[in-house]
């Protein structure tokens, strides 16, 4: 990826520092509140995991939301049945998502290209439709799976005789997992996930996957059975999604079926491509950008705009506010759509390419370029 003089260690440390200081640098951007930062971290994990499959092998899964959903359901059930401690919930989430990924991957990986994409899509849509309707006893359908006071919580009840009348909160050995502590918990896991993903990219396993991506047939001719490698990548990436799903439940103990809908699968695809397929930080950037739009831009109503443009003379503001209003508030989808089109036209490598071009431009001013500055991890076919 960006091949300025960064080595992996500095890159990792830089990433960790940027993530952990989020509460500071996001404030001027209007995003410095816990929920959004949790979402950044969680969807970052989701996208990084997706990139392990898509970025390394080129297999485009359109059903990753199913793993996200299963992770959430497993985590909430763990809260309901066993304990409010988040560790078992996360483990269950990852485990069940991994299992489902194994089954779906085993079947879907028999095909490649668009056939593979549609198979994963079909499995995910079946999961969603069933979760929304027939499986309601398990998933609580439309209203979503939530905690209740009657939950057994077997393990918790062994130790504590609770007198509290309210719903319990999710905890990490006594630390409440909402607000800023929830964010730091997610952030630490995100950094860990980033580290693992980096190791995978650099490992012989990662190289093998890249080999499969560039020419699967040639890999097969060397006598290698590629399926187990692909399946491993698929399951790992499914487990990342399950982890993200369980973290969604940890920071906010509710699991809804729409987390499994194809639009959610599509979202992670868009995040990854927007950020830069096959790059390490790209998916994280894409996830951040989309979530930022969804949460901040949608909140700009005419009231906010009128205040923002109050420096303009009234007659000008009367024109400007409605025009800008088309792109924010209820129109935030429009801005996002335009952004997709513009980025993919001008920056095929996503945001990461944009950044590296920017860096290259800055560098050019300092010293002559040695001609070898192109980002390597371009998405390829």
């Amino acid at each position: 990826m960006m091949n300025f003089t960064l080595n992996d260690t500095t890159r990792f440390l830089l990433f960790a520092a940027v993530i952990l200081t989020m509460p500071i640098w996001l404030i001027p951007l209007g995003g410095g509140y816990p929920d959004l930062m949790q979402k950044f971290a969680i969807y970052g994990i989701f996208a990084i995991g997706f990139n392990i499959l898509f970025g390394l092998t080129g297999y485009l899964s359109f059903g990753h939301a199913a793993f996200l959903g299963v992770g959430s359901y497993a985590a909430v059930w763990s809260f309901k049945l066993f304990t409010m401690n988040v560790i078992p919930a996360v483990l269950f989430g990852v485990l069940f998502a991994g299992l489902l990924a194994f089954i779906i991957g085993f079947l879907s990986l028999r095909r490649s290209g668009i056939y593979f994409s549609i198979l994963t899509l079909a499995f995910a849509q079946m999961s969603y439709n069933l979760a929304y309707s027939v499986l309601t006893p398990v998933t609580y359908g439309e209203t979503g799976l939530q905690l209740s006071q009657q939950d057994p919580r077997l393990i918790d009840n062994l130790f504590i005789e609770e007198v509290s009348t309210g719903l319990p909160s999710t905890t990490l050995f006594g630390i409440k997992m909402s607000g800023y502590s929830g964010f730091y918990f997610c952030a630490v896991i995100l950094i860990l996930c980033f580290f693992i993903s980096m190791r995978i990219f650099r490992s012989p396993f990662g190289l093998m996957l890249k080999g499969i991506k560039s020419n699967q047939n040639r890999m097969k001719y060397t006598g290698l059975n590629t399926r187990p490698y692909m399946l491993t990548a698929f399951v790992i990436s499914g487990m990342y999604a399950g982890l993200a799903g369980s973290l969604l439940a940890v920071t906010d103990p509710l699991a809804g079926a729409e987390r499994m809908q194809w639009t959610a699968s599509g979202e992670v695809v868009l995040m990854t491509i927007l950020g830069g397929v096959g790059t390490l930080v790209g998916p994280m950037l894409g996830a951040g950008l989309i979530k930022y739009f969804e949460n901040i831009f949608s909140g700009f109503d005419n009231n906010v705009l009128t205040n923002a443009f109050s420096f303009l003379p009234d007659s000008v503001a009367e024109v400007v506010v409605p025009v800008v209003g088309l792109f924010v508030g209820g129109g935030w989808h429009l801005t996002l759509g335009i952004l997709f089109v513009v980025i993919v036209i001008y920056l095929p490598g996503g945001i990461v390419e944009g950044l590296s071009r920017l860096m290259a431009m800055l560098r050019k001013r300092e010293r002559p370029v040695n001609g070898n500055m192109k980002p390597q991890d371009q998405p390829g076919e």
Partner: protein, 338 residues
């Protein structure tokens, strides 16, 4: 027996809609190699051609509405009805079929502009980027429509003479009680004509032959000195028109709203892939097959045995077909295999 016959009709009707959308999609896939996520949006644009045409016919004067006393409200009276008291209402009644006349040039223009302005730059780009750009475009189209027409569905009515039901039962000896709406029968025939037309165009004209050759081997056709680019523009425009007409004719069945394209998008991709990449016949076959299977799966008798089967049947059939037939029903080797 009656029930089964009606479900077959339902299935054919549903299948006709699927097939029409999938036909355009697979045409673009097969010839241009483009994964067009904006195809659903084109279907929706077609439907809104009908809405716009209707609006055009019913441009109205605003008369203050005296029945509303609490605030100033206005009634609309179409100029057409004022100017031509006899012909005006008839014209408005036939707005849907007539709007085909508007939809064809509009959709050709949209298709042309889209291909020349955007799609052509993505022929050699990876599928992922095609998906991103066409998806972005679909969102933009949707939001523009929403900003202008609002988010609620806008009801469109079929012409009066086609409003009721045909007693199809008595035609084939099943009794008077077996009826089916005229408009749905019209839709079925209409889609048959369109599908036949596209096939005939590709099969029996030199133009179509070149396009088919281009689908197989673009480079060689280019080497023969044929301007394949130009033909591809026209193919894209044809696909756009097919999607648009499918949208126009579907409006009386499904009141159009800005989101209807997205609702059909996933389904039409499933249809195309089940049919097999690059195969027009496969897409049509898969469309009708999935339509009929879906209709039967929704019957109470079936649902009693397998609860919720109608929720997943399409995807289930797709999975089974793709796992047993590597390239769908009629897919060709080498098209989007990797």
């Amino acid at each position: 027996m009656d029930a089964i016959f009606l479900q077959i009709l339902n299935g054919l009707d549903k299948g006709a809609a699927y097939a029409l959308i999938a036909l355009g999609l697979t045409l673009v896939f097969g010839t241009l190699g483009i994964v067009n996520f904006a195809h659903g949006a084109l279907f929706m644009l077609g439907a809104f051609c009908a809405v716009s045409f209707n609006k055009l016919l019913t441009i109205s004067t605003k008369v203050e509405d005296k029945t509303v006393t609490l605030f100033k409200a206005y009634k609309e009276k179409p100029y057409l009805e004022i100017w031509f008291p006899d012909a005006g209402p008839v014209l408005i009644d036939f707005a849907i079929p007539l709007s085909i006349l508007l939809a064809i040039p509009v959709m050709i223009f949209i298709g042309y502009a889209m291909e020349r302005g955007l799609i052509k730059h993505f022929y050699k780009r990876p599928h992922a980027e095609q998906i991103l750009v066409t998806f972005g475009l679909a969102i933009v189209i949707q939001e523009v429509i929403k900003a202008y027409f609002g988010a609620n569905p806008i009801p469109q009515t079929a012409p009066d003479i086609l409003a009721g039901s045909a007693s199809v039962g008595s035609w084939i000896g099943l009794g008077e009680s077996v009826v089916y709406p005229w408009w749905r029968l019209v839709y079925l025939v209409f889609s048959g004509v369109i599908i036949f037309g596209v096939f005939a165009f590709l099969q029996f004209t030199t133009y179509g032959m070149v396009v088919r050759a281009g689908m197989r081997d673009r480079e060689t056709v280019g080497l023969l000195g044929i301007n394949i680019e130009k033909r591809f523009t026209i193919v894209f425009a044809i696909a756009t028109v097919v999607a648009g007409l499918a949208g126009v004719m579907y409006t009386p069945v499904l009141p159009p709203d800005y989101h209807m394209g997205m609702d059909f998008l996933v389904l039409s991709f499933v249809v195309v892939v089940v049919g097999g990449m690059g195969s027009l016949g496969g897409a049509v076959l898969a469309g009708f097959l999935l339509g009929i299977v879906q209709s039967f799966a929704s019957m109470t008798e079936v649902k009693a045995i397998l609860p919720g089967i109608d929720q997943i049947i399409i995807y289930l059939v797709a999975v089974v077909i793709l796992l047993t037939l590597p390239r769908g029903l009629m897919g060709r080797a080498g098209v989007m295999d990797d």
